[in-house]
Symmetry: C2
Subunit: 151 residues, 2 copies
DNA sequence: TTAAAAATTGTTATATTATAACATTTAAGT
DNA sequence: ACTTAAATGTTATAATATAACAATTTTTAA
């Protein structure tokens, strides 16, 4: 699905950006949270909470479900990670500084997910809900299908 | 949220339409499936699977989780019901004959959900994914927020 | 019309996803 | 150093969903 040439670059830049965002916001980017974010970024395939749990167990942590879900809560609140409700999985945010009007393409063949932005889409959605005098708080937009590489 | 004057009318028309759709398609609209659809249509607030289970138990059925999930599978496949992934709940489809380009407004105050259609939205989504040479199979679009009545 | 096949429902067990509640440890502020 | 707040550890359980096989009902077709 993705135009990811060197995934080490993806990982390192995501980690660096997370560091600086947490620093700016005065949030504690602990070892555990760092490790969970890194595990999520291991690939562009959304990760299941209990897979993170298994991987954490292989490392230093005494990991149990709350260990993972608390780290996920932090990463979700900070905008470093997104939950994909249609598949109950988590993926690193590709541009956490300004995540807005974004949606997800999820390939059911290679399982990769891509975060996309579309101002037209944002406009269309806003138009639609304003017709209904609705005050949006959270938009979930996920498209399951087949990506270009998986034809 | 809704412009529902007489909800009995909603229920009866939904049930009638379900009957005729199943008849046309040669599908077996059994008592169990009928009852589950009716329970979902009891209100415009999306229903949880295990709430359906409890209500079924109060009736004739020897209801266990698979009882409900199988009926839900049937209703979902037939397009009579939708699952709202962002809240793990089920709602009756308001126009099962041509459900396309629809999305859901879900009020976090009154909990009602409204199914909306927007051709502009459909177009914007199609434009966005064609840019990514993506072949969509299923679109999940759910907006959580506050409806006009709940300001 | 009855036997075989298919679909539906019953039943038991278990998998998957997520949170509550309270104890302990670690970090921050005074 | 002492106090407080935040983070993590730990045990238990809640909430959501499916697997596997048995019994029943409906449909198909011999
Ligand atoms: Zn990459
Ligand atoms: Zn994002
Ligand atoms: Zn109504
Ligand atoms: Zn619909």
């Amino acid at each position: 699905m993705l135009d990811c040439q060197d995934h080490e670059v993806c990982i390192e830049s995501a980690m660096r950006e997370a560091e600086s965002i947490c620093q700016e916001k005065g949030l504690r980017f602990t070892e555990l949270r760092r490790e969970v974010l890194r595990l999520i970024w291991l690939s562009h395939i959304p990760t299941k909470a209990y897979d993170i749990l298994e991987k954490l167990k292989g490392k230093a942590w005494s990991a149990k479900p709350p260990t993972v879900y608390r780290a996920l809560d932090f990463l979700l609140e900070t905008g470093l990670v997104h939950k994909l409700d249609s598949i109950n999985a988590y993926i690193g945010c590709s541009h956490p500084r300004e995540h807005d009007g974004c949606y997800f393409l999820i390939c059911t063949d290679c399982n990769e997910a891509k975060e996309c932005c579309s101002p037209e889409l944002t406009d269309a959605i806003e138009l639609a809900w304003s017709k209904n005098s609705f005050r949006p708080k959270k938009v979930t937009l996920e498209v399951l299908g087949q990506c270009g590489q998986c034809d």
